[in-house]
């Protein structure tokens, strides 16, 4: 069980979507994330830079069959931050339900 902790880096909706998508994967191609989220390459690169600087994602640039691929994945720190953030969101709902008439 993760400790509930809001994470300001993850909370903005685009980064939350990116991290939530990666949380169910070992790794994903950059194009997979881009297509599922409907973002442009530049917009997604910008968000990945922020997450990478925070130590939440790893970005590997590979060459397979003469094609360049960018593969991304959550780090352990990123996974823990995500789980803590989810727990914090759940606690907000639990508190609201406990005080509801």
């Amino acid at each position: 069980m993760s400790t509930a902790k809001f994470d300001e880096i993850i909370h903005p909706s685009t980064r939350l979507s990116i991290v939530a998508l990666l949380a169910s994967t070992d790794w994903a191609d950059f194009s997979f994330v881009r297509d599922r989220l409907g973002l442009s390459d530049s917009a997604l690169s910008k968000q990945f830079s922020i997450l990478e600087d925070a130590g939440y994602v790893t970005i590997d640039r590979l060459v397979t069959n003469r094609r360049r691929r960018v593969r991304v994945g959550l780090t352990e720190a990123g996974r823990q931050a995500f789980e803590g953030h989810v727990a914090a969101l759940q606690s907000v709902i639990a508190i609201a339900e406990s005080v509801a008439p």
């Binding site: 809001f6 300001e8 909370h11 909706s13 939350l16 979507s17 939530a20 998508l21 949380a23 169910s24 994967t25 070992d26 790794w27 994903a28 191609d29 194009s31 997979f32 599922r36 989810v86 914090a88 969101l89 759940q90 907000v92 709902i93 609201a96």
Partner: protein, 160 residues
Amino acid sequence: MDNEVTEADARLALGSIAQRRQQVIAEIDVPAWYWLGLAGGWVVLGVLADYGPAWATVVGTVAFGAAHAAVAPRVLSGRHGSPHVSVRSDVVSRGVPVFVIGFLIVMTMLTVAFALIAHADGARHSALLASVVVAALVLVGGPRVMDVVRARAERRLSAL
């Protein structure tokens, strides 16, 4: 920051997280070539059984089993249906290989049953006939099996 997040915000965020998880669950699959390979192998074995010598059927069956055993550990996990993503093992049920192998066992039994029925009915190429029917069932039914696997994963993770 906790105070800035309302219940509605939290529900919206959790809904978005669930939606992203569903997008990954949708990638749980086995590669399309797996079902094509199985169906092709099934028909080849049917041809060997009807037209080839007995030893060829034995060799073909052993080769088919060996080839399947070689690819099954990686393919049947369901985590690498797409070359663009690797689904985490805790998202995919560990029972996927059992589920698929169970399906194949049923298909094998159906092949034998169809062949016996066709033979009893006087069909000249009963093994080939049965293998073609079951190969078609594999092509149609295999992806449906994975639909069930994905639905089970969705239900299991929603309950957490």
